[in-house]
């Protein structure tokens, strides 16, 4: 059974193409690529490279949001992982150990978040706010308040090295996205995550281990944040507990939402979240190369959020349905009145 080609034409791809085109108009050299010292260079590569940290955060965030949760702490967890990596490499530990320790720090942070949500039943937004606030303090404690710099070539490679001609962050992003997608979709994990996002009580009745699953997705988000943290630290060759990953949790959430995963939980797509992150980065880059002031970026982002919310609204779904030539295909978002919205009037 082959899906019709047009079901692959997603609004996100159109948006990405438009933004890239706009960049090209503003900066005609945008699509130029050149090969130097065994590595590809060019603005397009730059978008992928710069977008990788947020894309990696978005991979973990996708799973969390699919369970109807949210993780506000990933930026702070980046700082913790970066701090662990920088201090340990400064103390002369071998690279393998350094990476393992930084990843373990991320896992522990995720485990903490997951336990608060799944075992204590805290609201995800509150539960992860705790670490969002405390995390940078923890990172500073690890670095003892300094910006710890390093010049270990192995660790720096994570941020600015290249593999097969492509920057390491891109390779890491693509590998992680592929592995995560495989882990969710070639097993039943993806279905389970969607099920608890749609209805946790019914999922428990059906025999899912909702608690373990929830802890699992937050741990995964912590793990992804740690990878992002290592890349970000390696990129600037130092751990800046105060600034690394600042506000990136919001970019990650935005990326997931652009990718089409609903904040109400349920259906998710990791590759589309990565596309979402790249859309955000393409915008950032575009504003940078076009010479607009960076503040402009925030306004454009706000405008983008509005556009997305409108596009994903049920109204747009219906309009899309009526203008689409083939009436066989269901519209992208909820087509008609759903029972939920139709009966809520009982008490109004």
């Amino acid at each position: 059974m082959s899906r019709p080609l047009r079901s692959f034409i997603k609004p996100q791809f159109i948006a990405l193409a438009l933004i890239l085109l706009l960049n090209w108009i503003l900066f005609p050299g945008f699509f130029n690529l050149f090969f130097r010292d065994g590595r590809l260079y060019g603005s397009l590569i730059d978008v992928l490279n710069r977008g990788a940290p947020v894309a990696i955060l978005a991979i973990g965030m996708t799973a969390v949001i699919a369970t109807r949760g949210i993780d506000l702490s990933v930026g702070a967890v980046m700082a913790i992982a970066g701090a662990v990596a920088a201090t340990m490499v400064g103390d002369g530990h071998p690279l393998f150990l350094v990476i393992m320790a930084a990843l373990a720090a991320g896992l522990v942070c995720g485990l903490w978040n997951g336990s608060l949500v799944a075992l204590l039943g805290l609201q995800p937004i509150i539960a992860t706010l705790i670490l969002m606030v405390a995390g940078r303090g923890i990172a500073q404690t690890i670095t003892e308040g300094f910006i710890v710099t390093f010049n270990d070539p192995g660790l720096i490679f994570m941020g600015s090295g290249s593999i097969l001609g492509l920057p390491t962050p891109i390779i890491i992003m693509v590998t992680l996205a592929a592995l995560a997608t495989a882990a969710f979709r070639l097993t039943a994990l993806g279905l389970f995550v969607e099920a608890i996002g749609v209805n946790r009580s019914a999922s428990t009745y059906a025999g899912l281990r909702s608690r373990a699953l929830l802890i699992g997705v937050y741990t995964f988000a912590g793990f992804c944040a740690a990878i992002s943290g290592i890349i970000a630290a390696a990129d600037i060759r130092g751990a800046d507990a105060n600034n690394v990953g600042l506000w990136l949790e919001l970019d990650a959430i935005l990326a997931v939402v652009i990718g089409g995963t609903s904040l109400m939980g349920g259906r998710f797509s990791i590759p589309m979240s990565v596309v979402g992150a790249l859309i955000i980065q393409a915008m950032n880059t575009g504003i940078l190369v076009s010479g607009f002031p960076p503040e402009f970026n925030l306004l454009v982002k706000a405008a983008l959020i509005i556009v997305i919310l409108v596009v994903q609204s049920p109204l747009a779904g219906r309009i899309w349905y009526f203008i689409a030539p083939s009436r066989k295909r269901p519209p992208p978002s909820s087509p008609a009145e759903t029972p939920a919205t139709s009966t809520e009037g009982t008490l109004k």
Binding site: L186, T187, A188, L189, L191, F192, E194, A195, V198, N199, S201, A202, S203, T204, Y205, A206, G207, L208, R209, G266, R267, Y321, R327, K328, P330, P335, A336, E337, T338, P339, A340, S342, T343, E344, G345, T346, L347, K348
Partner: protein
């Protein structure tokens, strides 16, 4: 001839390409109780949602007192005197009972909500339904039946001309049904037009004056109940005749096999007094009892949703512990809960995923069912239970209530359970499908499955059970076996005083 209060004609409605109402009409006379009947998915709920402004219609007219109206939403319909209880009762679970009854029209005092008066009024209102609950408690601490009565009481209180009830009796006991019918009779005498949707034909004959039957989104006809024999009615609904399911009894001559699960001294403070329960292979145990007698609480314990304070479980002679439903499922248990919207369906997921999920959960996440296996499974049950859907990839939330219930049943039947616990299993399921489900369950029990059925419908208990447990005050107060099982005997046992029982 009096003019109809509400009259709808030539109503069309499509969801995407799926035409669910085709030129449907209905006339409601003042002072009549009008049954709206039809199979699961016939379009009954959709029609009343259109009448009350919850959905928009593609074509047709609605006249109220002879004037065309266009209800914008439920609230607008209420203002015009049309009150409704929808099939999926939609109250606010985390507000109090009193707030649910009066929200949007709370009594005020000095510009603030007068809570004292509101609670007093709420108590008075509910006492008419002989419902004695703490109106200051959060609504979701009460059972589905209580919530249903609260929704009905609210709708009755606000409807001036028309009252629409979509399967109001689906989870009510005989007693509450009688109380409700008493109230409906009074409202009818006051000249209200009442629409009553149900799958219980006995209730239709008891209370309705006229019936409109829908089939596949078309109106088959409207007839006075007085000259509509039951068989004709069923034929109108299904399009063909079926054997009288009334006489169908599958529990009677059943010979139970070996002991499967044995619960000893199971107890949970405030939920269930200590009880012993042995379930045998091939046995069908019915659980009866009044509202609040602890039926659902018992089922939750048996399935590991709540953990007992004390008690032991042995399955096939081996001691076991249930920490969560998953453990119960690993032992071959299955449980279709009472509240399908909250605990049953996964609304945004497809029919296929909803059917496969329990089987998949038991297999574990590392061993996914192939796409083909899921499709085969779903196709098989969609056919076997006649689930009306545009396809197995349709999100289950777009199915009609009864069809959602069939999906939940299919989910458990698909796991091939050794012990199946059904809490109000046929809630909202039509006569045709009901017969089919009884047949399926019968053949599973013949193959050794043991079944525990909880139901407020005593007819259903009698039809299924080879043994009946009667619950009262959260304890097992009596047991009936084989030939002694009858509606009369169960009613008697429910009413019996505990002292007599002990003697």
């Amino acid at each position: 001839m009096p003019e109809p209060v509400l009259s709808a004609a030539h109503i069309d409605k499509s969801f995407l390409d799926n035409k669910v109402l085709d030129d449907v009409g209905i006339d409601l006379m003042p002072g009549e109780i009008h049954a709206l009947l039809g199979e699961n998915g016939a379009g009954k709920s959709t029609l009343i949602k259109i009448l009350t402004g919850a959905y928009t219609h593609d074509a047709g007219t609605i006249l109220l007192d002879g004037k065309p109206v266009h209800p914008r939403d439920t609230k607008h319909a209420q203002e015009m005197g049309v009150g409704t209880v929808y099939q999926e009762v939609n109250l606010l679970p985390n507000m109090t009972v009193a707030e649910n009854l009066y929200i949007g029209r709370q009594p005020l005092k000095f510009g603030l909500v007068d809570n004292r008066k509101m609670e007093r009024d709420a108590r008075a209102l509910l006492s008419r339904y002989q419902l004695n609950v703490d109106v200051g408690s959060q609504l979701d601490t009460y059972s589905v039946a209580v919530q249903q009565i609260v929704a009905i009481a609210r709708a009755v209180d606000i409807s001036g001309k028309v009252l629409i009830l979509d399967e109001p009796t689906a989870s009510l006991d005989q007693h509450e049904v009688e109380v409700l019918f008493g109230i409906l009779q009074r409202l009818k005498a006051d000249g209200l037009a009442i629409v009553f949707i149900t799958h219980f034909l006995d209730q239709v004959y008891e209370i309705a004056d006229r019936a409109t039957v829908l089939r596949n989104g078309r109106r088959v006809g409207s007839r006075a109940m007085a000259d509509l024999p039951r068989m004709d009615l069923v034929t109108m609904m299904l399009g063909h005749a079926i054997a009288d399911t009334h006489a169908l009894r599958i529990g009677g001559g059943r010979q139970p096999g070996g002991l499967f699960a044995s619960f000893k001294d199971y107890a949970l403070a405030g939920k269930a007094a200590p009880f012993d329960l042995d379930l045998h292979e091939g046995e069908i145990v019915g659980v009866a009892g009044l509202l609040g007698s602890g039926r659902t609480e018992m089922a939750r314990l048996l399935f590991g949703i709540d953990r007992p304070d004390s008690g032991e479980l042995t399955v096939k002679g081996k001691p076991c512990k249930l920490r969560e439903p998953r453990d119960a499922i690993a032992l071959g248990f299955g449980f279709a809960p009472e509240d399908r919207k909250v605990d049953g369906i996964l609304g945004d997921l497809t029919v296929r995923e909803n059917i496969a999920i329990a089987l998949q959960a038991r297999q574990g996440w590392t061993r996914p069912l192939s796409q083909k296996a899921q499709v085969d499974l779903a196709d098989r049950f969609v056919r076997a239970l006649d689930i009306r859907t545009t396809g197995i990839e349709q999100p289950v939330k777009f199915l009609s209530g009864g069809n959602q219930q069939k999906v939940v049943l299919a989910r458990w039947l698909a796991t091939n359970p050794k012990l199946l616990i059904l809490d109000e299993p046929t809630r909202g399921i039509d006569v045709g499908a009901h017969a089919e489900i009884i047949r399926m369950i019968n053949s599973l029990c013949d193959q050794g499955m043991s079944l525990l059925v909880i139901s407020s419908e005593l007819d259903e208990i009698v039809a299924y059970s080879s043994r009946v447990l009667v619950l009262r005050d959260r304890a097992i107060s009596g047991e009936l076996r084989g030939a002694h099982i009858s509606v009369g005997a169960i009613v008697k046992m429910i009413a019996m005083q505990p002292e007599v029982q002990d003697a």
